[in-house]
Every structure is written in structure tokens, then in C-alpha cells.
Symmetry: C2
Subunit: 188 residues, 2 copies
């Protein structure tokens, strides 16, 4: 049986991303966001939606750059903590033993402990209500070579232990079901 619910935000599973920002040690901050995703393949563009009252909102608006750091099971506690605490009250990098490293193409730092960091430059800020959508160009990707398959050059997300956020709960990746296109190959 089906129930009708009032409109809500129920698209899942999602990543839980550590967004790092700021252009100097004193300004550096990091927070967690799941309202984030890819909006265009070519050119590579993505978005993050951020509440205006969040401490990092003003930092990003000032610098118009930030970095999306993908997270893993090993980073689960830091990921959750950075989503609950505010950079107004503490140095989240220090408290969570995260290491900020100077960005390559942007002023914002990336997180050394993250398997993959996506450097972003803001193109547009769209006010929607509770959240502002930051529409960005991807300008660089920093990848940890521990998870790159030496033969194929592919980044192995299963081995990296990617973290999944699903309707208020964190999970690891489960059983591998198949590769994109497997349903057609099996029929041949």
C-alpha cells in the first residue's frame, strides 16, 4: 500500500561531503554537506546548497572558492562531528585531526585524509529559501594514489571505503552488484 506524504527532501543515498574553505590558516573552516552533486558533465560543474546562517557561508561568499572532500568510513566520526559543530566555536581541523593542505588551483585547502578532493570556483549563488545553491565549476581534482588501480588508472571507491548518507544514517558501501551497463551485457 502507498501513502502520500507532504513534499519533502527524500532523495537518497547521498554522499556526506566535507566542504573546506577559507584562504588563510585563520580563516580555514570545514563543514559537512549532503545537498551536493554533479549538475553537468562537460564542462564539469557541481553544486552545494548551504544555509545562509552557517559560519562557512560568508567565508565562501568572500572567497568564491571551496573544496569538496569525499569521505570514507574511517572519516565517519569527523564527518558527523563537522556537521554538528560550528567553526565559530572551535578549530575543527585541529579537533578532528584533519590536515589542511594548500589548494592547487584554489585558495581553499583540501583535506589530506580525504581520498579525493574536488576544487571548485563559484559561478553563481542562487537563493532558494532555507538554502543558497552555490553553482560551481570544477577546476581541479586531487586524488590519493593509494586507491588508484595501477593497471587501469581507475579510482577504486570500494577499496577507499566510501561513506554513504541515507535519511539520517551513515552506512558503508555494501555488496557490489554490477558495473554500469551490466544488464545489457548479460543479455548478449
Amino acid at each position: 500500500m502507498k501513502q502520500n506524504w507532504k513534499p519533502g527532501t527524500l532523495i537518497y543515498p547521498l554522499p556526506a561531503i566535507l566542504v573546506s574553505c577559507g584562504s588563510s590558516d585563520e580563516e580555514y573552516n570545514v563543514f559537512t554537506a549532503s545537498w551536493a552533486g554533479t549538475i553537468c558533465t562537460n564542462p564539469p560543474m557541481c553544486y552545494v546548497s548551504i544555509r545562509p546562517e552557517r559560519y562557512s557561508h560568508a567565508i565562501i561568499k568572500r572567497n568564491m572558492e571551496f573544496t569538496l572532500n569525499l569521505t570514507t568510513e574511517a572519516l565517519a566520526r569527523a564527518t558527523d562531528w563537522c556537521g554538528v559543530r560550528s567553526g565559530r566555536d572551535c578549530d575543527k581541523f585541529k579537533e578532528m585531526n584533519l590536515t589542511p593542505e594548500k589548494g592547487v588551483k584554489v585558495s581553499s585547502p583540501y583535506i589530506v585524509e580525504a581520498p579525493l578532493s574536488i576544487e571548485c570556483r563559484v559561478k553563481e549563488i542562487v537563493s532558494l529559501g532555507s538554502h543558497d545553491m552555490f553553482v560551481v565549476d570544477v577546476v581541479n581534482v586531487v586524488a590519493d594514489d593509494r586507491y588508484i588501480n595501477a593497471e587501469t588508472g581507475e579510482f577504486d571507491m570500494k577499496r577507499a571505503g566510501m561513506l554513504v548518507y541515507c535519511h539520517g544514517e551513515y552506512f558503508g558501501l555494501g555488496n557490489r552488484i554490477g558495473h554500469f551497463g551490466w544488464s545489457v551485457k548479460k543479455n548478449k
Copy 2:
């Protein structure tokens, strides 16, 4: 060691969503998208990015409505197949044994086999390059009561067996790590 890669679309894990559209039996179609997510909590808004050459692009532009159907491990084969095949060549609902049911607040059908369907009305279409971003208002949610916890009223995504799409591969949900905010509660 870190490697720098050229800009790319690497935000993962993501949902693999069955997008259903069309306002009559003859027009009904369904395709798979992962460039989709929540962009605002209040009002509830989301987006899907679609290549203009995709068969459903014109159908959605005509009706300005569609439905996002979340997918599960049980729907993995249909999800992959609907992402590879085109509605120009076949009736994907029939081929994959998916049941279209008349929408509640929109003309597009929802998929009965999906655990959760999100009815959307298009507010704006933004051309970005390879993809057009459809910015939408959520107008209704249809939930399968098999996965609703009778005590809490919560939708149990773990029990529904949500499907995860991660860099070209499909996975199930793995180990539950914790609830949003657990890192702070543990410290008390």
C-alpha cells in the same frame, strides 16, 4: 601521495534514480539519472540534469512535470537497463516489468515497484553544456508502507535495500555506522 587530475565529475556515492515522465500511456517513459539531488529543504526543491538528446528531455519539457523514483537492489537490473536503452526503441515499463501508476499531484506516473516516489514540478531549465539542469519543486511524495516503521513513522531505507551508484558501479548499503549526530552524543 596525491595526484592532480583534470577537472571531472567525481562526487559519489549517489542514488541511481528512475525518472518517470509523460502524461498519457503512449507518452510514458522512464530513464535513469544520478545527476540528481536536493537543493533546498524549505521549500523542498531538487534537481535532475538531463542531456538534451535524451528521449525524455522533450517529454519533460512538454509537460514540465516528472517523478523521481528511488531504487533498490531488487530494482538494480531495471535501473541499469533503463539507463542504457532508449524509449525511442521500446516500452521500458513493459520490458522491465515496471508498473506505471497515475500520479497524485502530477501528470507523470510513479513506479509502483519503487519504495519512494517524489513528484516534481519544473520551475526552471538551466542550460549548462552537456546537460540541462531541471530545477523543481517537490509537490508530493508517495511512500510504500512496507518500509515505514509502524512505531516511529520513519521510512527504513536499510530495510528497503537502497541502491547506491558509485563511479560506474552499483552497490547495496553496507554496515550501519551511526545516526546523524552520534559523534557528539558519544562524547557526553
